[in-house]
Amino acid sequence: MQALLRSIVLTAVLFVICGVGYPIAGWALSQAAFHSQANGSITKNGSTLIGQQWGIATYDASTTSCTVSINPMWFNGRPDADDPLGVQYSAKNGTCPVVSGESTQADLGPHSKVLVADVAALVAAWKAVGVTNPTPDLVTTSGSQLDPDLTAQDALVEVPMVAKARGVAPSVLRTLISKATVGPQLGFLGSPYVNVLALNEALAALSS
């Protein structure tokens, strides 16, 4: 009985301190001191931390569905299993694609037939737009489906595609990529990478 009363009291006290005090103090500090980061690092064309769909979405009114394909005008990021390339999916409201904010994983194992087929389809799609030797990052889904980055090598294999579509010299694009390559933080925390949004913004600035 005494233990029950004490449990109720301790739960209430710790709720005030850790359950409410901690998250509210953290939230208030975040909003005051790190306003941009705390609200999603949103810039003009999206969040620098959240990957986007760079493909072309074609809406077909007769079937009310969308099909996404690689857009050779941009450096395309890693594939998204929710909006897969070349697969029709239903878009009843007529706007496509609204990429959902929900994070998911493909969860296909290393001996999955489905994964073999998905990879083969992506390899074919890349080859069709002039990327002759797609890297693993370009044909595999990421851990969040929201991976905002590519490696410099991934971006480099897309150079012939973008150069042809935009009529820009490949050497100019390679310079863009090397300028956009950042990290690893402090020289050793993680891998060097290229932020796809930053790279494409640089690409847009180039042509304007």
């Binding site: 359950g19 953290g26 939230w27 904010g101 994070s103 994983q105 889904t141 851990g143 891998s191």
Partner: protein, 563 residues
């Protein structure tokens, strides 16, 4: 080379934690620090207790159980009523009873198994005031259990093992709150969101496309999630999400945070029993097991993914990037995964389901060895002490002498209790996995076919039975069958180990210390470390090898076969 630096930096940070966080925790739990006395004293007055009152193991255990029940009821009600509570910008409805039960038990037991998708199920109210609150409570309970068990080993003829109410208050106030808060600042500064604003829709002027981005109070939850070896993230895909783990630095800090308290507890153990070498011996055993698993997982994930190669990617590219994030890279991802599975944290910065077979073998083994290398906050320490009792018992049998540990005679009662504590987990995991593969409701769960489908089920019960919480995400877990079976596994995995450990501590606490003689089996040398590792590996191997053979091992050996 960069990975060598990564490992070196990790080792340095952990060594500093071991020495200084360890010393700090000793001071906290020996009640030598009181700079927060002005907050503590009113709390003890409300509780009607004080630091001088100590409890027997039975009192301590019953306090822990009643407190767990009360705090669990609170969480259950929050989740059951979230549709009627504020801070719910997406208007999520109340949880169904089965999912609510599973989630409540999961956060109560420090498991953080998630049968729900965070950003599509849980209101901000539930996340902050329900789940995040329990990430403090369950870590604090784990920590005080370990301290109570250590006191049992340290006390000489004094049968009490501390005051649960005081220990809980002090572990939250002195240890978890301040460290988590500092860590939270790092997460938010790096880009972890922390807002009460609902999802935002952005418009990309370059492509003309729109995108909805889920937000929430994430950054500070992330800190206690890692520090408390909880692992339950705000978002569905946990630490792979850029808002939960934005950069290489947060990835590194996550690894340090989740290993810091479990490793430091070996220092606490050594200091409190009065012989630091004893703690170092346990630490070395933990590090050797941990290092071996890292080696295996990192090697495996650095190999190409067979399905990706078969799909037509040139073989010059190495490493399995399916389910991994570019900003972390393969080796740091692997280090995160192993650290998280061996500390019963269960946070994940890649999709374990898509890992290579031997990599997944390493992750499963990390849990099957009993979560002792170094294990969760507190739970790792008290579980490895049970293993140490078994090790000295076996050592004693070999030399034909009554075994002793830290000068205390280990007799039939102690060995029985240690045996129960060590065997509850394997029995639970294997029986529940057996049931799941035998009934339709269980076999309906896996997404993948072939041995990988079996691995998904085995992983689910291994994870829940060890209070880990990581998952092969392909398993559809939000069904009445998996919700209820999982709850059973998590409860047995927590209380089925903790209560025998407390009982053992109570029985050792009252014993006098026998002076060491010529024939005493030493427990601070290489021989003992080898024996301890041997016991852990043999118990885990004998119980789980057949199950592993049906899952990741057969998958790894089936070259060129796809299901």
């Amino acid at each position: 080379m960069t990975f060598a630096l990564f490992l070196l930096a990790l080792a340095v940070c952990l060594a500093l934690c071991w020495r200084f966080l360890g010393a700090y925790m000793v001071a906290v739990f020996e009640n030598r620090l009181s700079f927060l006395g002005f907050i503590e004293r009113p709390i003890y007055r409300l509780l009607g207790t004080n630091k001088e009152v100590e409890q027997s193991w039975k009192r301590y255990a019953s306090s822990m159980v009643v407190f767990s029940g009360v705090s669990a009821l609170f969480l259950y009600l929050v989740l059951a009523l979230q549709g009627h509570l504020p801070l719910n910008p997406q208007h999520f409805s109340d949880l169904t009873p089965a999912l609510d039960l599973n989630t409540t038990v999961s956060f109560l037991t420090n498991t953080n198994w998630q049968n729900y998708g965070g950003e599509t199920t849980m209101s901000y109210f539930s996340q902050m005031f329900g789940l995040e609150f329990h990430q403090f409570l369950s870590a604090a309970v784990g920590l005080v259990l370990a301290i109570a068990v250590i006191r049992g080993f340290a006390n000489r003829g004094k049968p009490t093992i501390g005051n649960f109410w005081v220990d809980m208050t002090r572990s939250c106030l002195y240890v978890l709150f301040p460290i988590a808060f500092l860590l939270g600042i790092v997460f938010v500064a790096q880009g972890g969101v922390d807002t009460l604003h609902g999802p935002v829709t952005i418009h990309n002027g370059l492509t003309g496309l729109t995108q909805t981005i889920a937000l929430g109070p994430v950054g500070f939850m992330e800190a206690i999630k890692q520090l408390g070896t909880n692992g339950g993230g705000f978002f569905n895909i946990n630490s792979a999400h850029p808002f939960e783990n934005p950069t290489g630095l947060t990835n590194f800090m996550s690894i340090v945070a989740l290993l810091s308290i479990p490793f430091s507890l070996t220092y606490v153990f050594g200091k409190m029993v009065g012989r630091l070498r004893q703690g170092v011996a346990v630490l070395i055993a933990m590090v050797i097991l941990y290092g071996s698993l890292i080696g295996l997982n990192a090697w495996a994930e650095a190999q190409p993914n067979p399905a990706v190669v078969h799909g037509g990617v040139a073989t010059q590219y190495v490493g399995n990037m399916e389910g991994k994030e570019v900003r972390f890279g393969i080796l740091p991802s692997s280090l995160f995964a192993v650290s998280s599975t061996v500390t019963s944290t269960g946070s994940a910065d890649y999709a374990y389901d898509s890992g290579n077979s031997w990599g997944n073998f390493a992750l499963l083994s990390g849990m099957m060895l009993g979560e002792v290398e170094p294990g969760g906050v507190g739970s790792g320490m008290y579980t490895i002490l049970l293993m140490a009792i078994i090790a000295v018992f076996i050592g004693g049998l070999m030399i034909g002498r009554t075994p002793e540990y830290l000068g205390k005679k280990i007799q039939a009662r102690e060995v029985k209790l240690a045996g129960i504590g060590v065997l509850v987990m394997p029995i639970t995991v294997l029986i529940l996995t057996g049931i799941a593969v035998s009934v339709h409701a269980g076999r309906a769960g896996p997404l993948n076919g072939g041995p990988h489908g079996f691995s998904e089920i085995l992983y689910a019960f291994t994870s829940q039975g060890n209070n880990n919480g990581s998952a092969f995400g392909g398993l559809t877990g939000n069904t009445p069958f998996y919700n209820i079976m999982g709850s059973v596994a998590m409860l047995l995995g927590r209380f089925g180990v903790a209560i025998p450990a407390l009982a053992l501590a109570g029985s050792l606490a009252g014993k006098q210390v026998v002076p060491a003689g010529l024939g005493t089996f030493r427990t601070d040398n290489t021989m003992f470390i080898g024996l301890l590792i041997g016991v852990i590996v043999i118990i885990g191997g004998l119980t789980f090898f057949p199950a592993l053979a049906l899952g990741p091992i057969v998958e790894a050996l089936s070259h060129g076969k796809f299901w």
